[in-house]
């Protein structure tokens, strides 16, 4: 069901992770992503996994929600892993059929890519978005990118677009579900037939969805104008972003841990690709 999509939702709380400055969280997420793709040592990945689990624990996000968040990307992970297995053909050959060849290095790369995607989702999509209110997150984006405004970079506009997108995702998901059900009640068949027929079957869903989205956009724009929205100029914020001790602690810990993990690339033990 579409309702199972929990990515991009926010779970209010008071954990240390919730209390971090969102700009710091963005920075840490960025470091995390870079390191995630630099590491090439299985032991390092295992350590990283344990650390991620610890962060999840500290953030008080129920384990069930983490798993639920991972469910929708399961297929993507498998496909990526398989593609990567066939992509790298160096190393010891284990199996060969025509132009397809599975090697030790290929398998390693497949496993690494799967781990990277899973960690990426847990680290960014789950820990970051579950613990940060969407507004704070978009405020942070606006704030981090505001130095580039002078070069014409629309930091405020992008942040506002993100805010609205996050706000409307659940609404539109619900709407899609309703439209699907309504067309099913009129005998629409989405499950059988050729690819072309199935693609055509989407028209009765997509047209109403877009009509509704445009109507919502129109009404929202008027409502925003009525609430004196006039772009980012002279705008103040209810919450002022502030860094505190806990943020510096988090930065120091992350940087040290990441340095340690990256340095394992140069060590002699562990499995690597």
């Amino acid at each position: 069901m579409l309702k199972d999509i929990t990515l991009g939702q926010f779970f209010p709380g008071t954990s240390p992770i919730h209390r971090l400055d969102p700009r710091v969280k963005l920075l840490l997420a960025l470091i995390f992503i870079v390191v995630l793709f630099v590491i090439n040592n299985l032991v390092a990945y295992i350590i990283m996994g344990v650390l991620l689990a610890v962060v999840v624990k500290i953030s008080q996000i129920p384990l069930g929600l983490v798993l639920k968040g991972l469910k929708p990307i399961f297929v993507v992970v498998i496909i990526t892993a398989i593609l990567n297995i066939f992509y790298n053909t160096t190393g010891e050959v284990l199996w060969e059929w025509g132009f397809l060849r599975v090697t030790t290095n290929g398998i390693m790369l497949g496993i690494f890519m799967a781990i990277r995607i899973v960690y990426l989702i847990i680290g960014v999509a789950i820990i970051l978005t579950y613990t940060t209110s969407p507004i704070l997150l978009t405020d942070a984006v606006e704030n981090v990118f505001s130095p580039f405004k002078r070069f014409g970079f629309p930091a405020h506009e992008i942040a506002m677009m993100m805010t609205i997108a996050i706000r409307f995702i659940p609404t539109l998901v619900e709407e899609t579900e309703k439209i699907i059900n309504a067309q099913k009640a009129r005998g629409a068949d989405f499950e059988t037939g050729s690819i072309l027929k199935r693609a055509k079957a989407l028209v009765p869903i997509l047209v109403p969805l877009f009509v509704s989205a445009f109507k919502r956009a129109d009404e929202l724009a008027i409502a925003m104008e009525c609430r004196c929205y006039q772009g980012g100029e002279n705008r103040t914020r209810m919450r002022v972003l502030q860094t505190s001790r806990i943020d510096y602690v988090a930065i120091v810990i992350t940087v040290l841990v990441c340095a340690a993990l990256v340095s394992m690339n140069f060590m002699e033990f562990g499995w690597r690709a």
Partner: protein
């Protein structure tokens, strides 16, 4: 004293080519602190009238003044919009931010209010619509009535003198309708906010101090609810209802029963019937 809102010979159409006026020669004044319900069927021009109050639409002919501001005065556009808050039918399409209190903060943030004062205003606005306990909730977990109260809090945070509500309960269930109507009445009574409410529910219109009935772009009836709802035939002829007790009294009167006054509520109706039955003994 000048009235708070005045429509002076207001006429409106969407484009020059259109043959028909959507609003035609409207003259209407609304006093500060009053609670006015504007009734009419769909397409009667009632929503168009409301949209003139904060310059979403501008008059084709005539003028609209709110608190001394000419709505055509572009320099004072934000002064005007701050004074007149607008609440629309679909609460989902007015809420900008996911988290309740952050949405309520949207308008004062746009107005450049200092952070500490925004916090105060948000807390006050949520209290005024009895939604304080949901301040950290995500709006999509709320009921329709709750969402609409958040939308009201969102305009309250501008500290408006007047709130215009365009069919605020049309998409709500009876429970949500009651919540929203209660909130609106309290804002009028306790905070002295002028209320202009567009509706086609008679049970809501009777709560107002004054009812204005529109049809085909004209004001056809205007007065206190008792006065307006005494015109049962006229209301029915423009596709509107009257409350059930009012209709019963009207029918009985037509049959020759001696009934003087118009009734609106079940309470009043029972009282009149009781006296009639007692009088027979």
């Amino acid at each position: 004293m000048k009235p708070f809102i005045s429509f002076e010979n207001l006429s409106f159409k969407y484009s020059e080519e259109e043959p028909r006026w959507v609003l035609e020669n409207i003259n209407l004044t609304i006093d500060d602190g009053s609670f006015v319900a504007v009734l009419g069927h769909n397409g009667s021009g009632k929503s168009t009238l409301a949209k003139h109050l904060n310059a979403i639409l501008l008059p084709t002919e005539g003028k609209v003044y709110v608190d001394g501001i000419d709505t055509c005065d572009e320099e004072k556009l934000f002064d005007l919009r701050q004074r007149v808050g607008m609440v629309f039918q679909n609460p989902d399409n007015q809420i900008v931010a996911t988290v309740v209190e952050e949405d309520v903060a949207f308008a004062p943030e746009n107005l450049g209010v200092p952070p500490a004062e925004i916090r105060e205003r948000v807390d006050w606005a949520l209290e005024a619509v009895s939604m304080t306990e949901y301040r950290e909730a995500a709006s999509y977990h709320l009921s329709g009535g709750q969402k609409q109260r958040i939308a009201i809090a969102g305009v309250l945070a501008m500290k408006p003198k007047c709130i215009v509500l365009d069919e605020p309960t049309a998409m709500l269930d009876p429970q949500g309708r009651k919540e929203v109507m209660k909130t609106i009445r309290e804002l009028n009574k306790n905070e002295g906010i002028t209320i202009v409410m567009i509706t086609h529910y008679m049970n809501e219109a009777i709560m107002a101090d004054r009812v204005v009935v529109m049809d085909e772009g004209h004001v056809i009836l205007d007065g206190d609810p008792y006065e307006v709802f005494s015109h049962v035939d006229e209301l029915k002829s423009v596709g509107l209802d009257v409350p059930q007790p009012t209709e019963l009294m009207y029918l009985l009167k037509g049959a020759g029963v001696d009934i003087e006054k118009t009734v609106l509520t079940d309470e009043e109706c029972a009282e009149v019937l009781y006296n009639l039955l007692e009088g027979q003994r």
